[in-house]
């Protein structure tokens, strides 16, 4: 099989799951009306598959800041910070992230994906070890593979399993990076951070927590799981993204270890890519400010999460273990998931379809994400439609 034939084979496998004409992946969105509504084809749909947790995509403060940045600094930086320099916005955003997490150091990356790649490859290399949760995001897997470190997985959120593996590592734990996520992106469940920290303190190792989905969502000021659990000081490195609750694009790493700054000189995913554009940085800064004082948004978000989680649970759906902004209905087969997804779209509700191998344990997911801008009526409508469609799965 030559290279192109291999792609044809992969395309055939995909088509076997998804018949032609079903554009579940990369669906064309023609117009965006608000944080909760858009047009797909000729339908006005309710958006229930975005990561816009605080509903800030159209926040006037962010839009205004982005406009001003474009007017003042242009559309792009056209290069990496290492070679082409750091704009005042990049430096200010790093100071603001450090301040937000009460940390010494902070680095801004061009995407959250690169924040994980850049942080992991900067911290570990061949001969070192990474101990990661089995359900880690692809950016964590890819960062680990790129680093050349030995990759050991523990069963998802299973602390007995994690301890067994830590114990086995023996003295190698000194050069081991443990990685977990604040909220896991597929089932929406949270890492048992207190137990992870306890194991780290017993056995040793360095801890990295990806707060991609928990930033803005958990904790009094939205720091994430570190704040909800009061364990900020026990986590060595925190990564996250601007693409979810901050509604732009980019990523960050914060740490109290001053060595974080050395990553700027060794981390390829930081050095060999263009820095975020002025508009991106400006809207992110404005969004971070809204996020920090956005307790009312978090309160609304959690009302909405509980409302939908309870409705779907009562309707008999099998859901992830923790209520939260990611609410996944777990179904047995890809065909059932596809049918449910299509029927929801026919009822003008857009959610995410997750098929194996992306979903854990060979299952398929119809994954909803709730945000603070959804109204009570919108969530009620979604609950009604899901209830009516219950017999499909």
């Amino acid at each position: 099989m030559n290279l192109l034939e291999k792609l044809d084979a992969a395309a055939a496998a995909r088509k076997a799951l998804l018949p032609d004409g079903v554009g579940a992946f990369g669906i064309p969105i023609e117009e965006v009306y608000s944080a909760t509504e858009a047009r797909i084809g000729d339908r006005r749909v309710l958006l229930l598959g975005t990561n816009n947790y605080l509903g800030l995509t159209f926040a006037p403060e962010c839009i205004r800041a982005a406009h001003e940045a474009i007017d003042n600094e242009g559309t792009g930086t056209t290069g990496s910070r290492m070679a082409n320099g750091s704009y005042s916005g990049h430096r200010a955003l790093e100071r603001e992230f450090a301040d937000f997490y009460q940390c010494n150091s902070s680095i801004v990356f061009t995407t959250g994906y690169q924040a994980n790649l850049g942080t992991i490859t900067g911290l570990v290399g061949p001969g070192d070890t990474v101990l990661i949760d089995g359900d880690s995001h692809a950016s964590i897997y890819d960062g680990c593979i790129l680093s050349g470190a030995d990759i050991i997985r523990f069963k998802h959120n299973d602390m007995i399993d994690m301890e067994k593996r830590l114990h086995r590592l023996g003295s190698r734990v000194e050069t081991t990076l443990i990685i977990a996520e604040g909220i896991y992106s597929m089932l929406g469940d949270q890492a048992p951070l207190a137990e992870i920290v306890k194991l780290k303190n017993t056995y040793g190792g360095t801890l990295l927590l990806d707060e991609a989905h928990s930033l803005g969502v958990l904790g009094e000021t939205g720091q994430g799981l570190v704040e909800k659990t009061g364990l900020l000081k026990d986590v060595d490195f925190i990564t996250g993204t601007f693409s979810k609750s901050l509604c732009s694009i980019g990523g960050f790493c914060v740490s109290n270890h001053p060595q974080l700054n050395q990553l700027r000189y060794v981390s390829h995913p930081y050095i060999f890519t263009a820095s975020p554009s002025p508009a991106t940085i400006a809207s992110t800064r404005a969004a971070l400010e809204l996020l920090r004082k956005g307790n009312h948004l978090r309160t609304q978000l959690w009302h909405n999460c509980i409302q939908l989680y309870t409705r779907l649970k009562d309707a008999g759906y099998v859901l992830g273990p923790d209520p939260g902004p990611v609410i996944a209905a777990i179904v047995d087969t890809p065909q059932q998931a596809l049918l449910l997804w299509q029927k929801l779209l026919e009822n003008n509700i857009y959610v995410n379809l997750i098929l194996p191998p992306a979903a854990p344990e060979g299952k398929s997911l119809v994954r909803c994400s709730v945000n603070a801008a959804h109204t009570y009526e919108q969530i009620q409508y979604v609950g009604d439609v899901f209830s009516r469609l219950r017999s499909l799965t």
């Binding site: 990759i151 050991i152 997985r153 593996r165 086995r168 194996p356 191998p357």
Partner: protein, 84 residues
């Protein structure tokens, strides 16, 4: 010593794989994990966690790139367990 250790690993591995994969074909050192046992890449990763527990070793998943057959997996387990 080394040969009997190696043989022990191989036979325990065949046993465990047979249980873990629910396979109805006989598993020998030459069995190909991917094509004959229909283990996809994700299943292989989960299977490796069980194999780690069976032999009380850490098997880095990046060392699996060269593993196709049961024998190659046995070689890897042996190397990790008795190296050092």
């Amino acid at each position: 010593m080394t040969e009997s250790n190696y043989n022990e690993i191989t036979s325990l591995l065949c046993d465990r794989l047979s249980t873990l994969t629910n396979s109805n074909i006989e598993i020998t050192p030459d069995t190909n994990l991917i094509s004959q046992l229909s283990i996809d890449s994700i299943k292989l990763l989960n299977l490796i966690m069980e194999i780690e527990d069976t032999f009380d070793v850490s098997i880095p998943i990046n060392a699996l790139a060269d593993v196709q057959t049961v024998r190659e997996l046995a070689d890897l387990v042996y190397k990790i367990k008795f190296a050092s």
